[in-house]
Subunit: 889 residues, 2 copies
């Protein structure tokens, strides 16, 4: 006989926390809490294997499931002292889904199950409160009808609104027991009308229908899409939890709340949470009433005037605080918990690892190591490298003037300035056009996710720290100020008002998600400070990682930032950016417009000193760290003027007629510039360009060595090689220039010559290219473009449809396509190493700063990754995680 | 002791014909002729191993070479009865290079070696002719100085011209012995002046210097370049042949000549050659005197009045004709021979396989099978498939006069004469009136297709061998000269200029697409003949090949040609070409300009009947042969109007403002259209387009089946798949349409759905794509573009420099890059077959008609190749050769 049902409660449990794949996350943790003696309402979990059975057998259940459920239900009845369906003393239960990983899109919760026209009277009698009983019944009908029967909730909201209107009420709390009884009749009539069946009165039928609805929702479209996007196999299935109800809304000695065992925003080791007296959990989440703080410390921090739970229910709070300490010691992780107080008794309804901001993640990880709860490697594993991004960007300049117009909750840290938009669609549209926007809403819902993602910051006028807006913004790393109640948004007229101030769409606004301040206009920002816990974590990361981390940068200024962020060298210096400077672009254009190689050389001679000075500055800034310099890569026409004024300027400087300039520019235009006359193709056709660049590099090496006495070893990178002969020809040219400079300057010059592997053919021919190439740097931007036959510039018009339609899981320009592009890289690396075992291998595409891509690079393995300056710390941590995972794999 | 020297002569030889790698082609054949008893002047060959030794040992010779040469020389002296350097009876020799493969760029020949101031007198006495002896000596000085000492021949020509001028002579023959003696003195003085050394007088020194010059020329720049371009390894080395001189210029009983054992132009089995009485070989080649025919038949054929050798020297001719028959029987191949008659005695100086025209190659191969000399497979091997191209198109009458005004690339073979038109519309209009026109454009675009079709030939002033004009013209079998840069078309004034010549619309012009020549006026043409031997060879090819041969074609007209040429199906029908028709382009543009999928569907409904009719006609023409139809592939903006008039037309038809039309066209423009919104990306974003096309296909299937009662099995091809999910989605769409049509029409519909494998990622993911794809067709045009990161349209600006610089051996768009693109194909084929062993594999890029690429396809192996109609016979033969080579490999 298979075991389909696992009971918990009364200080015992058949399950454990590590049985998540069988019991789901929620069920496993309920069992664990129960087993370690925490006060969990008794219940049982129907395993994920039942879900699998359900779909393997045409949506039917195992024969012996019913008997096991009956027996588990009897255990609950015994522990609670009530009976399911007993009109006198009815047991009420909740039904909740619980997959291995939290999964939006699935049926969530049915509360108060077991109520019917008879048992509601028993509840009324036992609770001594008819109004409470009827309110519970109508909530049950509403919830059950919505999620199990598919009767949309607006049907019920209409009835309730009408009921209030008829009676001249403003709030739900004004409805009396009799009013609710009437509403219940109307609700049941609506169900009959919509479904053709009366609302089910048998508790057992209600239970089976709810269980079926949970399993059924595993295969609804939203859940399927979510699983595909998150790579969750369909055969994992979901579990279902049935648990005795406890009520936080039975009176003033009742409460419900959510809490974090540490501050999820700052990481401070202080109990942090919110509660509401006489409320059900959904009331906290819905943000209708403003929740109160758990602790006096929290109350002070948030400047709240409402009393803390610590003050109102000191005894129960003490129990809750003990639970907090027990959980942290037990799980060795910050927990996110839900609790209910029913008539002075504490019940734990959920515990799970808590989401946190990046600063909090760092502080918690560092603190827990200091507290001896976890080790360094575990600390490293716990921080999402992508989340560090929040820390690496500027915050508001404390010196800057601020015109604070309102205050809300500091719901997600960081600062954001941008134009006001009032809808998610507008946010997305404007962001697509390059605008920085702040999304301002009364409150947010899952339908706003795309707009929240597109926005730099999110402002809501309603809701708390655990409101939808706050939770989602923290997850995305967007600045968020929530519940700024002084602000009023008038959606119809597109105006946000505070006192006599009117802000309209397009007006500038600034949020400080760390303080909750809302400011009119744009406010100056300052660079982040990266010491303390951050520095400690980075030190640990460096100790454990095996991949080097370099930076893609072109200027000494960027190099300075990158060195501060801990880069170990430059992986990609794009020399072309150096030519866009106003002084140089004219000589550059002269060079391009030249008719002969002699004329071209003359123009290049003008560019040489500029470029040499660039390299001198860069080499000095990098102080002996390796510097990979890519010779000119983009099509020449990119440098040419397009607008009339610019054409005139060039014509004047070069002594050509404007028409000539235009004609030459036209001649250089290409059908597919990405696949055109660029990269080493320029070096082959106009060798004098690469000669000048090589000379600038080696003369800079000589100058810096003479000045500092230290060796500089540049790595000269030939771009866009597809045929080994291209590399051979360009390497010969570089070697010749090096020999000449060596002789002229009388200094030893060491250097490497390598290539960017950025074309599929280069991966295939890596063994041959490595005959003469001393390093490879995978240029995964272009490699992705060519492997997919996909122009990054043009993909916008259809890649969105691809992601939405599930054709691709994610933009391959953001996270490396390991199946296709990755195989090419592996091939290139293996073949290159076959020829030259000590060949240096790196990556310098955008992917070099993407944690998932870095994890792949570790498996190739590469020697280093190179990324933009602000992603260097992210790469260091991601590399450490990749090394740790690899070691354990 | 190594054997460095191989002797031949006197009816014996140490070498054989199959020792070409040791003795070179010339040496091996001289040995062979000697061994089979033909009259070869005695001599010896210094092996290619000496050349290798020479370069491996700092340009020195093996110690024992001299002894072996001395001994071989003694053998010649014995056989000839003269001594090298003997003033009384001097032996004279020739020195000739001879590599394995004939190789231009190397030192060729030194004649009369052994002459000096003393031996010339001995020669005079023995020949009884002082003038002859001095003439021989001055020829030797001139040749030796030029090729061995590096004194340019113009130095000597000047001296000779002066000598004639001084004496009032017109011809060399007017110079007397004394005159030549004076010239010789002047020659020697010039050598001293130029080299600082007197002309070498010791025959042995002369010989060693000549041998050294031959070996030295193996490494000169021209030879190195030639070897690189023709893939000849440097370590093959060259041999050197030293051979007793015989003289065709000792009097009227002497002669020299070259001949082919059969007519190299027609293939006729008739002795064919030319000779000159009293001349040396160089005189025949130099064309100073008009050579005479060997045979009376030849004389009559060429309308010559000069007596044939058959008449002048019947006896020697009889011997020569016997040699001819012996050689053909021995080599079983048509031979190209050189001979000299010295005082009535015949000497053979060379034999090798003779080059021939395509018609001759076919006739000779067929005849030799009939004669029992060779078998079918050998006959097939002997014909160069590329040469067939000449036979499949009208050609210029070789007798007609030509006024060549410009040259471009031979972009599509065949000849065409007609009236000049400058626009596609004009071409169509004039053709409709029965005019034969040549469309002249700066370059062509898809909008010109109808005009290209209507024209007899296409001339462009810009673009390469793979430009739009070239590709389309080859597909249509239209003659095309592309990139004739000397021509300037002034569209405004309707004039085409070259130098001071102005050509206007209506003027006659002639193109030779096989040579790239552009001629003013009309030149007569002749039509190809495809029966007889040609048909026989094709039959044999079909018997031996294992690769199928399909055609890339879009119209019933092309299909008809292709069927006549023996295609077995359509490998690529590009549906987009069907939309450029004047009637349809407006509906097409409406479709593209549509704002909603509903509007788009309305426009597509208009296109449906057109497309269905196209397929009906195509299916009927192909009469049950498989037809692979590619769904819409190019970016939509290709269909949009660019010129003002066209914009206005569309605006009127669609009811949009002109500005709207322009704006929409601008919005559709892409940075890199090749990598943009095209192929199945169109099908994913606008499924209604592919739905219409699938419907047209299946409704056409139903219609044809109903009408003919025969089954039609279309192969629906999804283009540009890079991700397996793309294929899955599009296959589902096609299947759904098929099911609907099946139901509506009440007929069974069979079909395959497959994809074009044209992106590197598709090759990598072939195993996954093959889960649902029933066939793959390798689109090697785009695969080459993406593997190399090389736009075919833009490569023109640098690919020339690449080929010249030896960076690439040949344009990868013409012959498949087997190392890179080929490896991707192999990967795709292997992985596809792993998933689906019976998957159909083909190729439909331009490479499908290239013999070298076809040979590669045989090794993958693919099931079929598909090429343009006029290349079908070429592909059939190339496939046969590939199969035969594969069998022997």
């Amino acid at each position: 006989m298979s075991k389909w049902v696992y009971s918990f409660g009364g200080g015992n449990a058949e399950g454990r926390a590590d049985m998540k794949s069988l019991l789901g996350g929620k069920g496993a943790n309920l069992a664990e809490m129960s087993a370690i003696g925490l006060p969990v309402p008794p219940g049982f979990t129907i395993t994920t294997e039942v879900c699998t059975y359900f779909y393997d057998n045409d949506r039917s259940y195992p024969d012996d499931l019913e008997a096991q459920m009956t027996s588990a239900l009897a255990q609950i009845e015994d522990l609670v002292g009530a009976k399911f369906g007993d009109p006198e003393n009815p047991l009420l239960i909740s039904v909740r889904s619980g997959a291995r990983a939290s999964m939006p899109g699935m049926m969530d919760t049915v509360l108060n199950l077991g109520l019917n026209d008879e048992t509601v009277e028993g509840l009324a009698k036992n609770a001594g409160d008819r109004r409470f009983a009827y309110d519970s019944y109508r909530r049950f009908i509403q919830m059950f009808s919505d999620v199990v029967l598919g009767v949309d909730h607006h049907n019920f909201e209409e009835i309730l609104d009408l009921a209030k209107e008829d009676r001249g009420y403003m709030l739900d709390t004004e409805l009396t027991a009799e009013d609710w009884a009437q509403v219940i009749d109307d609700y049941k009539a609506k169900v009959l009308e919509q479904t053709g069946e009366p609302f089910p009165q048998t508790p057992k039928d209600q239970a089976w229908a709810s269980v079926g609805a949970v399993f059924g929702s595993w295969m609804n479209q939203r859940a399927i899409t979510y699983r595909r996007l998150h790579d969750i196999p369909a055969d994992w299935g979901t579990a279902v939890n049935l648990q005795a109800m406890v009520f936080g809304n039975m009176g003033e000695d009742c409460a419900t709340g959510v809490a974090f065992t540490r501050n999820p925003s700052t990481g401070e080791n202080a109990f942090y949470g919110e509660y509401l007296v006489n409320a059900q959990g959904e009331d906290v989440v819905a943000g209708i009433r403003t929740p109160q703080n758990l602790t006096v410390h929290g109350k002070e921090m948030n400047g709240s005037k409402l009393p803390a739970m610590e003050e109102v229910m000191p005894e129960v709070f003490g129990q809750l605080n003990d639970v907090r300490l027990t959980l942290e010691k037990h799980y060795k992780e910050m927990q996110d918990i839900e609790f209910t107080v029913q008539r002075g008794t504490l019940y734990m309804l959920q515990t799970r690892n808590g989401k946190r901001t990046a600063p909090a993640a760092i502080k918690i990880a560092a603190d827990m190591v200091a507290e001896g709860l976890i080790g360094e490697t575990e600390a490293l594993r716990r921080i999402d490298p992508n989340a560090l991004d929040q820390l690496l960007h500027p915050t508001l300049d404390p010196q800057a003037e601020r015109n604070v117009i309102a205050r809300g909750l500091p719901a997600s840290p960081g600062a954001a300035s941008g134009k006001i938009v009032f809808t998610a669609d507008k946010a997305e549209a404007q962001a697509a056009e390059g605008e920085t926007v702040v999304l301002c809403r009364t409150e947010t819902s899952p339908e706003d996710i795309h707009g929240m993602h597109a926005a730099a910051g999110i402002l809501t006028t309603r809701g708390g720290m655990t409101s939808h807006a706050a939770v989602v913004a923290r997850g995305m790393g967007r600045a968020c100020v929530a519940g700024a109640g002084e602000l009023r948004i008038d959606h119809k007229s597109g105006v946000m008002r505070v006192r006599d101030l009117e802000l309209r769409e397009g007006d500038l606004i600034t949020l400080d998600g760390s303080t909750g301040e809302v400011m009119a206009g744009a406010v100056a920002t300052v660079q982040p400070e990266l010491s303390g816990d951050f520095a400690t974590i980075m030190e640990w990361a460096d100790k454990h990682r095996t991949l080097g981390v370099r930076v893609n940068c072109d200027t000494p200024q960027e190099a300075e930032v990158a060195v501060k962020f801990g880069c170990e060298g430059i992986g990609l210096c794009r020399t072309e950016h150096m030519f866009f400077d106003a002084q140089r672009i004219i000589a550059m254009r002269e060079m391009i417009l030249a008719d002969s190689s002699e004329q071209r050389r003359r123009a290049l001679d003008k560019l040489l000193p500029f470029q040499r000075d660039d390299f001198i500055a860069l080499f000095k800034e990098m102080a002996g760290r390796p510097v990979t310099i890519r010779l000119l890569d983009p099509p020449l026409h990119e440098f040419l003027p397009h607008e009339d004024a610019a054409v005139a300027e060039v014509a004047e400087a070069s002594g050509m007629a404007e028409d000539q300039v235009r004609a030459r520019a036209l001649k250089l235009a290409e059908s597919n510039p990405m696949l055109g006359h660029r990269g080493c193709r320029l070096g082959i056709t106009y060798p004098e360009i690469y000669e000048m660049q090589a000379r600038a590099i080696f003369e800079a090496v000589a100058a810096v060595e003479k000045e500092t006495g230290k060796t500089v070893v540049p790595e000269v990178m030939i771009p866009l090689v597809s045929v080994e002969q291209e590399f051979t020809a360009m390497r010969r040219l570089v070697d010749e220039v090096a020999a000449k400079v060596r002789e002229a300057e009388g200094v030893e010059i060491q250097y490497l010559v390598g290539t960017m592997i950025e074309l599929p053919r280069a991966c295939l021919r890596a063994a041959q290219i490595a005959e003469e190439a001393e390093f490879f740097s995978f240029g995964t931007n272009d490699l992705t473009q060519t492997a997919f036959g996909l122009s990054r510039d043009d993909a916008g018009s259809f890649l969105g449809a691809y992601e939405q339609g599930g054709v691709i899981e994610q933009d391959p320009f953001i996270s490396l396509d390991t199946e296709g592009v990755g195989e090419l890289m592996r091939m290139g690396a293996d073949r290159g190493r076959q020829t030259r075992p000590d060949i240096k291998l790196g990556i310098c595409g955008e992917h070099g700063g993407d944690p998932a891509s870095i994890a792949f690079c570790q498996t190739v393995p590469l020697d280093y990754v190179s990324c933009s300056p602000y992603r260097v710390p992210i790469a260091r941590l991601a590399a450490a995680q990749a090394a740790l995972n690899r070691k354990n794999a």
